[in-house]
Amino acid sequence: MPTALSLAPAELQLAELTEANRPAQLPLLTRIAELLSASAAVTHLLVRGSLASGTADRLSDVDFVVGVHDRDLPAFTAALDDLMTVAGGALLPGWRDTIVADLGGIGFVFLVQHEGKLQQVDLYLAPASQITTVRRKVSGKVLLDRPPTEITTTQIEQAETHVAKLAARPKSCTELLIEHLVLAVLLHKRIQRGQKFVAYAEWHMLHTATKDLIKTALALASRFWGWYQLREELALTPIGRTCLADLDAAITSPAVPTAADVNAALDRVLALTERACPNALDGLADAITAYRTYLELA
């Protein structure tokens, strides 16, 4: 069926207008796609989310499914932080995404500076052997479809084991701090868009990450699950009591935060990290300064 654009009279000069209305994230999307596809290990690139459906706004993230040959998945995962830092412009190591649906792979979220703005880039690494299934479940646009060389059963099993191990590995204090920084970006976006329900869910995730950070720093050998027995395990020392007070402040804040609430939570978590696990900040001072500058400019 002809589109409205194709019916426009030839004398209408629409190209410039069309160009002006391209999503601002398109250059970043192109840059990351070119970067990733330079490796023969990458068999597929799918764009999903609002940039695939044409509903992107200036806050939209860049969301890829990256098909990686099963044989190369462990090496690719190990190299991903270096690749995204050196060539992708990531401020921080990737956050292992615990929001994304399980499609047999593993997701990472990177905060990337691009043209003076902080952008969110989601990379879901899927073993090439799973791509047919992933494509059935994910509505997206295919940017790259490169048939992989033969994938053996052993390689498939190795990739599955690799994904399972990564998913099961407990997060370090540094990873939990990065989780807070990523969630704060997501929350600012929800607040600006007025997405109260999603903001509520992500605010709860942020509090849970704070609880996990405290437990990882001060009660690593805890035998109790989740939120149980926190006071019994942590309130034994002044530092534990101060951290519990921080957690109390977090969970008694409004159910749906304002931007000021999110910023206060970040301040609280950075102070908590400095107090309970200062090594988690090693090498991140400049990144956190830059992160806050970009948030102020947003």
Binding site: D82, Q113, T289, Y294
Partner: protein, 277 residues
């Protein structure tokens, strides 16, 4: 990293000169961020990409003419849009060879190099006035790291190998004035003061082996450019003997069986560090 302190390794390579009025710097910063500057990428062999310059005073009076050389500099039209900046340049009364604005984007680098190789007949000096900067933007020379903070004039004597980076951004913008030595310059230079600097840690064999293995992992996946950049970045993390990053890249390519690339990087090292051939 050791505490910030003046270090002997700097030995006059970078010094602080005149302190400038804070409000003037704010006006100059505003001008630099808003003037209609034709930013040009030049000196591509020295940089990662992301290094842009535009001229305020040069031989031709064209702001887009940015490849520097000996001349009697005259103002470009761009400087006409920047009255506070023009006022300061006039007030300093220096004999300008070339005056540029230099913008270094986030995640951009000027690789380890030596300047003025082709311009060694006349005494000249390079002055920097940081207008817009951040804590992840710094210069490395002699194994020390110096963040050139705003609010004053700095002098860089780029005869030693040095490099500049802006790891995380936002953009870093400096006014760079290459000036000939004269009485006005001497008066300014008499107020030179050593800046504080951070000594970079020495790299252990294990550090270098780990970084080389990470670079090899990237290269094996087909990300050769990223592998090279990762090794070039070591200059900004560790106190390394001169040219080590280039040697590591050449070694990487040798290990990958690409002798042509290895030779190319060895030649790049000789050119960028102005080594005798």
């Amino acid at each position: 990293m050791e505490d910030a302190q003046p270090t002997a390794a700097l030995s006059g390579q970078i010094v602080q000169l005149e302190k400038l009025d804070g409000q003037l710097i704010e006006r100059m910063r505003h001008e630099a961020l808003t003037a209609p500057a034709p930013w040009k990428a030049e000196y591509g062999e020295f940089q990662s990409g992301g290094w842009w310059t535009t001229s305020l005073m040069n031989a031709s009076g064209e702001a887009g003419d940015v490849r520097i050389g000996d001349c009697t500099a005259r103002p470009t039209a761009l400087l006409g849009h920047m009255p506070a900046t023009a006022g300061l340049l006039a007030e300093l009364g220096l004999n300008y060879m070339w005056v540029r604005l230099a913008r270094l984007e986030a995640n951009a680098f000027l690789w380890e190099h030596r300047d003025y190789d082709e311009l060694d007949q006349v005494e000249r000096h390079r002055l920097h006035i940081p207008l817009h900067t951040n804590s992840s933007a710094f210069l490395v020379t002699g194994g020390t790291k110096v963040h050139m903070g705003g609010g004053r004039i700095w002098r860089l004597t780029p005869t030693y190998a040095h490099g500049v980076c802006n790891l995380l951004g936002p953009d870093r913008i400096h006014l760079i004035a290459d000036v000939y030595a004269d009485d006005a310059y001497t008066r300014l230079a008499n107020r030179a003061k050593e800046p504080t600097a951070d000594r970079l840690p020495a790299a252990s064999e294990a550090d270098l082996a780990e970084r080389l293995a990470a670079a090899r992992r990237l290269a094996d996946l087909g990300y050769t450019g990223a592998a090279e950049q990762m090794l070039l970045r070591l200059f900004y993390s560790f106190d390394l003997p001169e040219g080590t990053a280039y040697d590591l890249i050449a070694s990487l390519h040798t290990a990958l069986g690409d002798s042509e690339a290895s030779t190319r990087w060895t030649a790049a090292k000789a050119k960028l560090l102005a080594l005798a051939s």
